[in-house]
C-alpha cells in the first residue's frame, strides 16, 4: 500500500522548489551584496541577509518537525515520521548557518564571538536538542521505537523554539529584537533592505521545501530497502 505511493524519483514539486531555489540563490546573494550599507554597521549589516532567513527557516523547520511528530504519534504512519526527520535535519543545517553567521556578525559588532546572553543561550540549547534527536535516531535499531522516541523529542524539544524566538523580547538581552516583528507587525528596516531580506527569505523557503521533500524521499527509499 505504502509502496505504491513512494516513487523512485523526486516528483515535479520537489524539482520545481529545488530548481527555483538554486536558480534564485545567486540573485538573492547579488541583492544582499548590493543592498545599501547600514548607517551604524556599514557593510557588516549584510550578514543579516543570511543570518535572519537561516534562523527563521530553522524555527519553521522545527515547527514542522513538531507537527509531524504529533501526527506520527497519533496516526502511526511512518510517512509522517520521515517528514519530521527530514525537516529536523534541514532545520539543523539552517540553524547552524544562523549560529555561524551570528558569531561572525557578533565579533565585529559586539566585540565577541559568543556570550551567554538569553537569545544565544536558548538557541544553543535548541541546537543541542535537535543534535540529540539525531543521536537518538542513530542509536535505536528497532524502527518503530526509533520513530516514537524521536517523535517525543520532536514534541518536547519544540518548547524551546518559542522561548528562543521571544527571548529578546522577554528578557533584556544583548541581541537586538526582531527587525520584522511577527507579534506586532512592526518593521524597522529601510524598504530596499527589506526587499533584499524578503527575497532571500523566499529563496531559503524554496530551498527548504525542496530539500525536505528530497530528504523525505531518500528516507522512504531507505526504509523500503530496510524492509524489502
Amino acid at each position: 500500500m505504502l509502496k505504491a505511493t513512494v516513487s523512485d524519483r523526486p516528483d515535479l514539486f520537489t524539482w520545481a522548489f529545488l530548481g527555483l531555489g538554486l536558480l534564485l540563490l545567486p540573485l538573492g546573494l547579488y541583492l544582499a551584496l548590493s543592498a545599501p550599507p547600514d548607517v551604524n554597521q556599514g557593510y557588516l549589516a549584510r550578514i543579516m541577509y543570511l543570518h535572519v532567513p537561516g534562523a527563521w527557516l530553522g524555527y519553521l523547520a522545527f515547527f514542522v518537525t513538531f507537527l509531524y511528530s504529533l501526527l506520527y504519534l497519533f496516526r502511526q504512519d511512518p510517512r509522517y515520521d520521515r517528514v519530521a526527520l527530514a525537516s529536523a535535519e534541514i532545520g539543523l543545517v539552517f540553524m547552524g548557518l544562523a549560529l555561524v553567521t551570528g558569531m561572525l556578525w557578533a565579533r565585529p559588532t559586539w566585540g565577541v564571538y559568543w556570550t551567554w546572553e538569553p537569545r544565544l543561550t536558548t538557541t544553543a540549547i535548541l541546537f543541542a536538542v535537535y543534535v540529540g534527536y539525531f543521536l537518538l535516531r542513530g542509536a535505536i535499531e528497532d524502527p518503530e521505537l526509533r520513530r516514537k522516541a524521536a517523535a517525543a523529542v520532536g514534541i518536547l524539544g519544540f518548547i524551546n523554539v518559542p522561548i528562543s524566538y521571544m527571548s529578546v523580547k522577554w528578557w533584556r538581552s544583548l541581541h537586538q529584537t526582531q527587525s520584522i516583528d511577527l507579534t506586532t507587525g512592526k518593521i524597522h528596516m529601510a524598504p530596499e533592505m527589506l526587499q533584499a531580506l524578503l527575497f532571500n527569505l523566499l529563496v531559503f523557503t524554496l530551498l527548504y521545501l525542496g530539500f525536505v521533500r528530497l530528504r523525505a524521499l531518500v528516507a522512504a527509499l531507505e526504509a523500503r530497502k530496510e524492509e524489502a
Partner: protein, 221 residues
Amino acid sequence: MRRALLLALRDLRLEVRDRAGLLSVLAFFGVMLFIMALALGPEEAPLRRAAPGVLWVALAFASTLLSTRAFALEVEDGTLDDLLLVPGGKEWVYFGKLLFQMLLLLPLSALAFLMAAGLFYLPLEKALPILLTLALGTLGYASVATFYAGLLARLRGREVLLPLLLFSLVVPVVLSAVRATAGLVEGLPLSEVASWWQLLAVFDVVYLTASALLFPVVMEG
C-alpha cells in the same frame, strides 16, 4: 490516582528488598561528592562556589539512574505488560513511577545537601530554601526522565541512551536550578531567587503535563 500511589509504594518495597540498585545509586552519589570535594578543596571559597554545580551534576546522574531503576525490575521480571493491561488510561503508571522516584529523590536531596554542607561549606541556615530548589529541580528532571526511561525500558543499551536524550531537554531545568542554588549560597535575598523558582515551576508544569500526555501514546503497542 490511588493506584499511582500504590504503585510507587510497591516499587519502593521492591527496591528495598532488592537492595543492589539503591545501593549503587547511593554509592555513586557519595563517591562523586567526595571526589569533587577532594579535587576542588581544601580552600573554602572555591569549594563553596563550585558547590551548586557539583550538587546538581550529582543529583542529575542519580536521577537518571533512578529512572532506569523505576522500570528495571519491571522489565527483568517481565511484569511491565501486566501494568499496561490494567484497563483504563496508562497515565497512572507514569505518575506511579514518577512518584516512586520523587519519594527516593527527596530524601536523597536532603542527604546531598547535608553532605554538601559538610564538604563544600554550604550555609546550613539556608536549608529550607535550598531544599525547595532541590525539590523543584528534581521534579522537573524526573518528569522527563520517567518518560524516556519508560519509552526505552525494553531497549538494550538504555543506560547509555537515556542521559544522551535527557540532558539536552532538561538543560533549562538544570540551569535554573543551579542558578537558584548559587543565588542562595551567595546570599541573595529570597525575592530574587523566587523568580528562578517560578521559572522552575513553569518548566516542571510544562514537562510534567506533556510527558504524562505522551507516555500512554508511546507505551502502547
